[in-house]
Structure formats: C-alpha cells, structure tokens
Symmetry: none
Subunit: 209 residues, 4 copies
DNA sequence: AATGAATGAGGTTTCATTCAT
DNA sequence: CATGAATGAAACCTCATTCAT
C-alpha cells in the first residue's frame, strides 16, 4: 500500500536523521573527552535518547567510532573529488584541500579524525573491525598522490622527490597537534596558518628552476 | 661501614635498573595496545614481576605514562642541547634532530610520544598531574624556534614566514602517522625518509635568493 | 496517559522496594561481619542481584552505611516525636523509648547503629560524607534532654545533676554491648532487662524527697 | 656460660621493651585511625622499625589487637584486684574503678578497649583467635558482680534488682561514646562526669530505706 | 521501536604477609 | 636478628552490552 510505503519511508527518514544526530553528538563528545573517557550513557543522554536506542543504530561503541571515521573520510573523498574536477592547478587543488581540512567546515572534525587515527588503541580497532577504513585512507592518499603526480608531469613539482614521501609529508601537515597551539597563541587566524603552511610545503616541493 | 654503603648503593642500583625496565616495558606495551587497553597486569607480567611491585615504583598508572613521557622529553631536550652546541649550521642541527627522532635511537619512542601527546584522554591527564610536561614540550618548541631564528638571522631562512609557524610545521613532521606507512611500503629506509622530508621542509623555508 | 503514569509509579515502587531490600540485607551483613569485612559482592549476592545493581541505588559503600544510619536515625526521631506527643509523664516517655530501642521492633537495628557509631573508622566517614548525620544524633540527644528538662521542671528529676550528663548516661544505656550478654545468659527476656535498667536510671535521677 | 646467660637475658629484656613499645604505638594508631584504616606499615614506621620486625613479635595484625586487648584487660583486672583488697565500701571500690577507667591513667585506653569490643569486625576476630579474651571480660564482669553482691549483702544495694543487670548497667557506663561528647562540650572535667555518672548509678541501685 | 535496569567482566589499587639478603 | 622489596589475593568501582517490558 502507498500509505504504508510512505509510512515506512517516513520512519526510515526519521531513523536516518537520528543516526546522523548520534554521529554528530558522539563526534563532539569523543573530541571533548576522548574515546575511553566517553561513556555510551553520556552520548545517549546528550542526544536525548536512551542508551539502548544507540545500540539499535550501532552494534557497539567501536562501530560508532568507525562510523564516524568512515563518514568523515567519505566526505573528505567527496571534497577531493570536487577538487579533482576543478580545472585549477594541482597546487591550487591541494591548497583547497588544506583549507577545507583546517579553515573550512571540516576544521572541527579534522581534530577527531587525527585523534582517532593516532593513538595505538584504535590501530587495533581498525585492524579488527574497520578493514575498509584502511582502504578509505589509502584512497585519500592515492588522490593526493595523483594530484602530486599531475603536478610533476606539468613540471610544477620536483621530480627528484618521491611522490609517496611528498604525499606523506602533505598528510602530516593535516595534524592538528601544533595547529591548536598556533591558534591558542592568538596571533593567527586559521587562514594565515593554512597559507603559510602551504607555502612552506609547496616551495619545498616545487620544481627547481 | 663501607660494606653497608656498598650494600645500600647496590640495592639502589638494582632499584633503578628495575625502574628502567618497567619504564621500557611499559613503553612497549602502551605503544602496542594503547593506554587504556593496557592493564597494569599486562605490564607487570611482561616485566616478570607482580602487579604490586609496579606500584612500589610508580604510584599509579597515570604516573607511569607521565614518567615515560617525561623521561623521553628530557632525553630529547638533552639531544637538542647537544645539537645547539654543535657548531654546524641551523639547518644541519635541525636535520640531526629529525634524524634522531626517526632514524636514530629514538625512533621507537617517538611513536609513543606522539601517540601520548595526541588523544584527548591524555590532555586532561596532563592538565591534572603533569603540569611540568606542558613546560617540557614548550621548551622543545622554544629550542626549535631558537634555531630557526638563528637561521633567519644568518639569512638562511625566509624571514617572511613567522617563526612560530615554521616551528609548528617542523614539529608536525615529527609525527609517525604517515611515517609508518612509508616504512611499511618497503621502498625506503628511515634515512631516506628523513632526508627527503627534511629537504622539503628546508627548501620550503629557505630564504629567497 | 494514565497507564504510563501507573507504569511509572509501578517501576518506582519496585525500585524503592529493592532499595529497601538492599538496605535491610546490608544492615544484616554489616552487623554480622562488620563494615570492612563485608564486601559489596557479599551484599549483592545475598540480595540476589549483581554487584553493579547495588551501585545503581547507592553511589558507594560509604553511602550505603550512611543511608542505613540515616534511615534508622530518622525512625528513632519519629518514634521520639510520637513519644513527645504522648501525654504521659517524662519518665514514661523515656521508658517507651528504651523499650523501642531494645525490646521493640528496633532491637536488631540498635546493634548496628551502636556498632556504626562507635569505631574510629566511621567517625572519619561521617566527617566526610555524612555531615547531616552528626545533626541527627544531636537531635536525638536534644529530644532526650528536652524530656529530662521537662521532668526536672515537674519536680520528677533531680535538678542537681546536669541535664547533659543525664542525657549522656541515658544514651549510654542504649548500648547493646552488655545487653547481648544478658540475653545470652537466658535468664531474662528483653522486657525484663529494659525494665530493670530503666529502674536503675530513673531511681538514679529522681528528685530527692 | 654466665656471660651467655646474661647476654641472653639482656636480649630478652630488649625484646620485651620493644614489644611493649609496639603495643603502645599500635594502640595509639588504632585509636586514631581505627583497625582497618591502620596499616602495619604505619605502625612499624611510627615505632621506628621495619615492618617485618613487627611480625617477629606478633604473628599477624589480628594478634596485635588481641594482645593489646589482653594486656589492657589484665591491667584492669589487676586494678580491680587492688580495689577488692581495699577495705573500703563496695560503692567506693566501684567508684574507684570508674575513675580509673575514665579519669585515671587508663582513660585513653578505655576508648580503644570500647572501640575494639564493639564493632562487629572484632567479634568474629575474638571468636577465632581470642577465645581467652571472652574469659577475661567475663572475669571483669564477675568481679564487678562480686562487689555488687557484697554490697547487697551489706544492705547497701537493692536486692530486688538482679545482680547481672546491675553489672551490665555498670559496664555500659564504661562507654566513651557519649563521654567524648560531654568532654567536647567543655563544661565538665572528667572528674565531674565520673562523679555525676556514678551518683546516678549508685542512687539507682541503692537499697530502699 | 524505545527504554533503562540489570549484568558482570575487567581494571586499578591496597596491604597483610613472606623470605632472601 | 632485622630488613623491606616482592607478592598476590581481594576490594571497590565502571561501563559496554543485553533484554524484559
């Protein structure tokens, strides 16, 4: 029946909305307190639902972090795809990515992403449950590498530096560790930091004239 | 009595050796499993002593991590002091530091240090018990900044890039996140990675000719 | 909805019943084994629930004893208020109180109360968490003093003995130490003991004729 | 050999002195902190010896309390014997005992004695290891009873009140619970309290004229 | 479908006791 | 003898997960 269909899809929509909400709240709490210091109770009560309800959406706490990680990675990939489609120079695209990670909408999530990716605790977690996550991260690395290769081909970047090391260095910059400290000093706005950091990197890899 | 004195110092020496051993083992386990996934039981049994014995050396689990962190930071500072005394160029000194962190004796510890320093969990830990640790890290940052300033003064480094951002970027490179991946690929030995990474950084900050 | 309301209150009722049960069992075990010799596991398993469930009702072991103490003190106070309302003589009222403590429903609890109130361990406990408990005990003492004063005013009791010492002596009688021994001898029923003890006390404080 | 004998007895004397010291210190600490809150470490370090040395004198913590209790009881018994030998009236002898317990040299120990004797923890302790202690206490009670009987025979005390209840009531007065409160009020010196308390008791049991 | 009370494994920490030195 | 480092049992408490309602 149509009404049932509508009903079903309405429920489904609500379900997805709540799932989104859980992810968002969980992200915030994980970021504030850290993974282990955050209890499922805290997440549930901040969302405004019962603890058991969280388990209707995610089989366990692990899966919750993995889901967050996955969602963010997907979003980064989307953004990167958008960048790839841009007709701008490789450097401009990577600068856009940096900006997206730090100064753009993603700035907050970048911290959690980094915090999750580091920390030995979660390495094991990913090994067990999140096999696909390794792939996601690989794909991000591949896209960066791809852009860098393109830049090399165009004669923009130094071909004597292995692309994989360039990639690795670039990704290292996406590390909110010292970024926070810089912001805390209060001398810079995010845009400045991204600009200067990018400048160092791109001058570092630019083809010798 | 001399014999008593000797006796005393022997005991003391054994004590310190054991303490060292605990720190070393704890470091390994924390690195493998992460802070929360590691139990005091695990550490003790790996050292080959009883759980209670660990508590004779460190008042709690927290203090154990803090002790590890502190010891490593002190060692880094020592190394940096040694670098500062070198009569080599600023760049050479920073390169030596990078090498020490990644390719040298410190390579393994760097990972834990980074893993500890990230992760929201421990931020709070440090706020409570390890007030001095923040200082230690600050001191490392200051030494790096100092060398960078010196390089600027000598006309080696670009004076249009703020020193704090240079420092921050340099410290970002000390981040074993992607380093591990590079090693895993198997194409490079640590020395290569350090060399190339340094190259990118120093070309990035070098004074325009 | 009414059903929801009923539901809620049913749950709440069950909750309170369980809480009562925990208190009752805990009281027994504390009485048998003493505070420190009693583990939360023991209490839980005697109630027939899991250890964690006890913590849903009481935040800690301390709070459990305090809750027991508080509940009993409140009941004593209620009883004393009832006594105060009686139109009988001061002596009759105090005799009723003695009877309530030893021979009445409260006989069992009196022991724990006394056992808790003594013992250096718990003095410190009360200082920390049970600030209000000191007050409760003080209030009991005050009521007794009040009745004694009234008796003095009526010319029943000896005005040359300070009320505070009378009070103190009276409360000393509420001390199951030797009471147990008397019962164990088997020559007396509680009523006898209370009667004779009261007789000694009241003759001891009666106004000289 | 004589010298060996002397040596032996000297050592033995030192041993006993230390044992006394341990008992005295342990008594203080138990009184301050309570049995369970006191660690063997605390006792040993206050005495100024090593923890292991305490175990050369007492097989365990339990035995330490029992020894304290036993020693005190013996002392009380001695005092009572001294009282019994006095040619004063039964009442005077009991008053002397009360004074000894509260206002005399024994005042401090009385608290621990009471604190030990109450508290369920130790009831079990005595049942296991200190079978003889029950006897000691019984003997004290018997002496009191004996004096009371004598008083009855002389026509001093009321023969309608069972001696065992008189005894029990008398012993109840030896209960520092409320005594402390009285002292804390600051209105009385120990002598006053003992005097008034005794007055109540003896008037309570005196033979009707 | 949502709830949240109940569970119990697992972690940290203490401390009485032992025993090699 | 005296020592005190080492032990390990046992306690308290947390919290991810389940399941009856």
């Amino acid at each position: 029946m149509a009404s049932s269909q509508v009903h079903r899809s309405l429920k489904e929509k609500q379900r997805q909305e709540r799932e989104e909400l859980i992810l968002k709240v969980a992200q915030d709490v994980f970021l504030e307190r850290g993974y282990h210091e955050t209890s499922m109770d805290e997440i549930a009560s901040r969302v405004g639902i019962a603890k058991g309800t969280v388990y209707l959406h995610f089989p366990g706490k692990d899966d919750l972090v993995i889901a967050i990680f996955e969602r963010d990675m997907q979003e980064i990939l989307s953004q990167m795809d958008a960048c790839l489609d841009c007709q701008t120079s490789p450097q401009a695209r990577l600068e856009a990515l940096l900006h997206f990670m730090y100064a753009g909408l993603f700035s907050k999530r970048t911290q959690l992403l980094s915090s999750i990716y580091h920390s030995a605790d979660r390495q094991r977690l990913f090994a067990e449950k999140g096999g696909c996550l390794r792939d996601l991260w690989e794909r991000v690395a591949q896209r960066v590498a791809q852009i860098l290769e393109e830049g090399k081909a165009r004669g923009d970047f130094d071909t004597t530096i292995p692309t994989s090391i360039m990639t690795s260095t670039f990704l290292s910059l996406i590390s909110p560790k010292s970024y926070e400290r810089l912001l805390a000093e209060g001398q810079f706005v995010p845009e400045d930091i991204v600009a200067h950091t990018g400048k160092i990197f791109f001058r570092g890899i630019q083809a010798k004239s």
